[in-house]
């Protein structure tokens, strides 16, 4: 059977053109011929040639002195690396329940009609490719898209038409693109803008302070006392899991190693979240302050920021911020004049893989491999990046660290609840009058939040993204806090007329697409969950199907290897629990209905034979 097997390495049997091989070797040399920098190397190749061909894979492997299959293993994993050449302009539209409710389907059609490219393919003239992609972190300004890696937002169908016209008229690329610089033709579009939408600045995160205040405040403390302060503040990780940050640092610090590493998790892949984007746009220094304080506490000399590929547009500004900090003595050697306090930060761009937000997958990716999570133990705090003790913390967690140093742990702990101190940045989107960022104290109820965002008529709320839960009105009195409704920050609001099952189905599709494939229960299980839900959605399900789907969902939850698979069934399980009537309304009153209809089953035969079957039940 012909198929997708070794297609990738075979498809393009020609060797890289000699001049390309020389260029690739130069790129590899630029990154020190270091295998762990494969992300940067492949990104540079993708950027320069618009794809990573089989010949390029071999050339990279040769320059690095590794097997081609190792490079292929990594390259083929990431959504942003492509084997085939895409259109000169590659449009990737964010596909989420929120983008669709804001009209993304019409925008997609407009892009397709204007460009002549069917969705998912390139236009015949090779100018445009129009595709869907997972949530790109713009839920507050959907419909949005990436065009050649640059974000365009708040799109209407007429925007789509004018963008295509403008790009068609844009000059052909003459010079090779400058690595990491945005495509100037796309950057010049009026739609290429991202608003921050801070709707409510709370008492902690968005306070204006001088940069470096937190770093200087920590200088007077021993590393142990810094960690003690963080423990006293009861800071819990803001990335979603809510693990106590101080405790993590304590474990990390006492793990032996040649070096300790510090990683800022800016992968922000959970659909509906965009608070890290806003934090890195509006207050990057407070995040770097937090990282520098952590470096002090852990004795780390290198910090890495893993920035999701969708946020590549932030690259240049963040580099400038880092430059300024080096100039001001807040990064580099002898920070703040403190002998021996050396720390610097490198930013690593991701390449379109939600699972790379999982800390061990993130580390694998940073080491230039596919983003498959690791088994634990050992934990990253024992053996993480390059097998050294590593602390991975969320962007917002670092911001909290800086504020704790500036104002003290008691002050910090005076906000929020007993178990969840401080404030939380919520990214609110969907059916509400004022989507955007809200900094609220932990303990606020869903109802209180809905009032603030202008969503009095909300019918359900997706809390913490697809991996969280679908909350029904009966639970709107519950509190947003680790001890009740936990969230990494994603809050999607759905008003009257929205279909719970359609939303669950889109989220299930998301997990199918983002499963890394390493382990069987998630790789196969997510696809089967999609099939099961689809049958019910299409009004072909029975009560037995619902029972079977629930059992399957529980198996996927119990048996999957990492947090992705362990939560991938949540859209189904939480909607089943909270909206059983929505399922029931779609069921057929039979014991068994086959998954395929007779027509579907016969379709191939009908096509081959060129005639319809004779229906013998019909009276002649």
């Amino acid at each position: 059977m012909m198929g997708t097997g070794a297609r990738e390495l075979r498809e393009d049997p020609a060797a890289a053109r000699p001049e390309d091989a020389v260029l690739i070797d130069r790129i590899v040399a630029e990154f020190g011929r270091d295998r762990t920098r494969l992300m940067d190397i492949v990104q540079a190749v993708q950027h320069r040639w618009g794809r990573v061909s089989a010949a390029s894979v071999r050339a990279i492997a040769q320059s690095l002195g590794i097997h081609a299959v190792e490079v292929e293993d990594m390259v083929s994993f990431y959504s942003f690396f492509s084997r085939e050449r895409k259109g000169r302009f590659h449009v990737r539209l964010s596909k989420t329940p929120v983008s669709l409710m804001k009209g993304a389907a019409k925008v997609a059609q407009a892009f397709a009609a204007a460009s002549g490219a069917a969705i998912g393919t390139a236009s015949p003239d090779g100018e445009f490719t129009i595709e869907w992609t997972s949530d790109i972190g713009m839920a507050d300004q959907e419909p949005s898209a990436l065009i050649n890696g640059t974000v365009v937002t708040a799109l209407s169908p007429s925007d789509a038409r004018s963008i295509i016209a403008a790009l068609r008229a844009a000059p052909a690329d003459v010079d090779p693109p400058v690595f990491r610089a945005p495509d100037p033709r796309v950057a010049a579009l009026p739609q290429a803008r991202v608003a921050s939408h801070i709707m409510k600045a709370g008492p902690i995160i968005f306070q204006r302070r001088r940069r470096g205040d937190g770093v200087r405040a920590a200088l007077g403390l021993s590393p142990e006392s810094i960690i003690q302060e963080i423990i006293k503040a009861k800071l819990r990780g803001r990335g979603g899991a809510g693990f106590p940050t101080g405790l993590k640092w304590k474990f990390c610090r006492k793990s032996p190693g040649q070096q300790h590493y510090l990683i800022c998790n800016a992968d922000e892949g959970e659909p509906g979240t965009f608070k890290d984007r806003v934090l890195l746009t509006e207050a990057p220094d407070v995040v770097f302050d937090g990282m520098t304080i952590a470096a002090n506490a852990l004795g780390a000399q290198s910090g890495l920021v893993y920035l999701r590929g969708e946020y590549a547009y932030l690259w240049k500004t963040l580099q400038t911020v880092l430059e300024n900090r080096r100039r001001l003595g807040l990064l580099g050697s002898n920070i703040c004049g403190c002998e021996g306090f050396d720390f610097d930060v490198r930013i690593q761009l991701g390449a379109g893989a939600y699972v790379c937000g999982e800390e061990s997958a993130l580390i694998e990716s940073l080491e230039g491999k596919r983003g498959a999570p690791r088994d634990r133990p050992p934990f990253p705090t024992e053996r993480g990046y390059l097998q050294q003790p590593t602390a991975v913390d969320n962007v917002e967690s670092f911001a909290c660290v800086a504020r704790i140093m500036e104002n003290g742990s008691d002050w910090f702990a005076s906000f929020g609840t007993r178990e969840s101190t401080g404030t939380k940045l919520l990214s609110v989107s969907g059916d509400c009058a004022h989507p955007g960022i809200y900094e609220v104290p932990f303990g606020i109820t869903v109802n209180e939040l809905l009032d603030q965002v202008g969503a009095a008529d909300a019918e359900f709320v997706q809390m913490a993204g697809p991996s969280g839960q679908c909350v029904a009105p009966k639970d709107f009195g519950r509190r947003i806090a680790y001890e009740d409704l936990a969230t990494g920050g994603s809050v999607m609001v759905f008003g009257p007329g929205r279909d719970v099952l359609e939303v669950a189905s889109l989220f299930t599709e998301f997990f199918i697409h983002e499963s890394c494939g390493w382990c069987a229960p998630c790789r196969v299980g997510t696809t089967l969950l999609g099939r099961g839900l689809d049958k019910i959605l299409k009004h072909r399900g029975t009560l037995e199907d619902v029972t079977a789907l629930e059992e399957l969902a529980n198996t996927v939850t119990r048996m999957s290897r990492c947090g992705l698979g362990q939560t991938a069934a949540n859209p189904i399980l939480t909607t089943m629990r909270n909206f059983p009537q929505v399922y029931e309304a779609r069921l057929l009153p039979y014991q068994f209905v086959p998954a395929v209809t007779l027509e579907e089953a016969l379709a191939v035969a009908v096509k081959v034979q060129g005639r319809e079957p004779v229906d013998e039940t019909e009276p002649v």
Partner: protein, 239 residues
């Protein structure tokens, strides 16, 4: 691995282990069979199949990747775990094409044998009918990806035992496939004598011209269920 002795209980029975062993190694040594597919005693574990999942100190985790610790409490042979394991076996059946009666691995296949041992009748899950490639370019070896369960045994064997890296993965999620270090298997450094040619738990990597030599009824698992060899070493537990 040091000589430090550790004791743990598996399904209520106390067993001894060495520090640094994984739960599955300790169980094997004690004659307790933990169902498994991707684990191979000669290779580093990779945790793909999750069939070896046990309830370890209250949490479900894979026995092949979890190191033993003193006083650890392991639940292995429970109806709930075996039921979840059976579902995973079913998933692997519907993910590929497994027409056992026509397969030369039948009777010697770990996937099929686990299906029997765990009481799988016919899969109740829908077949996924994937598109996969058969590679017969190598003079001595055939690669039928339709039966591949992505356990990475061949990848690990080639890399760590043969020092060749003939195999790797390609793609992600449900589109993940086994790929080779060249345009096709015949174009790689693979040899029939390689360890990688002899670790496949299913009928994906096969040596040409050896199929169907063993008559039915004389294969490994025709005579005894999978795991019997491990259970045979079990000493009578002391009371």
């Amino acid at each position: 691995m040091s000589d430090a002795r550790i004791s743990l209980t598996v399904d209520g029975t106390q067993i001894q282990a060495l520090e640094g062993q994984s739960v599955i190694q300790a169980c094997d040594a004690a004659g307790v069979y933990v169902p498994r597919l991707c684990y191979h005693p000669d290779l580093p574990p990779a945790g793909h199949c999750r069939v070896c999942s046990c309830r370890i100190n209250g949490r479900i985790n894979s026995a092949c990747v979890t190191p033993v610790s003193q006083g650890m409490v392991v639940e292995n042979d429970t109806p709930a775990l075996n039921s979840d394991r059976r579902v995973i076996i079913e998933m692997l059946f519907v993910e590929g094409y497994h027409l056992c009666p026509t397969c030369e691995k039948s009777g010697d296949c770990e996937l099929q044998a686990l299906g029997y041992r765990l009481g799988m009748a016919a899969p109740t899950l829908p077949y996924l009918w994937p598109q996969r490639e058969l590679d017969a370019t190598h003079p001595e070896i055939v690669l039928d990806r339709n039966r591949c369960i992505l356990c990475s045994r061949c990848i690990r064997a080639s890399r760590y035992e043969d020092g060749k890296s003939v195999f790797g993965f390609e793609g992600r999620g449900i589109h993940m496939r086994l790929t080779v270090d060249g345009s096709a298997l015949g174009d790689t450094a693979m040899a029939a004598a390689d360890k990688a040619a002899h670790v496949c738990p299913v009928g994906c990597i096969l040596i040409k011209r050896t199929g169907f030599r063993t008559p039915s009824g004389h294969h490994r698992f025709d005579k005894a269920p999978i795991g019997s060899d491990i259970e045979a070493v079990r000493s009578v537990p002391k009371t």
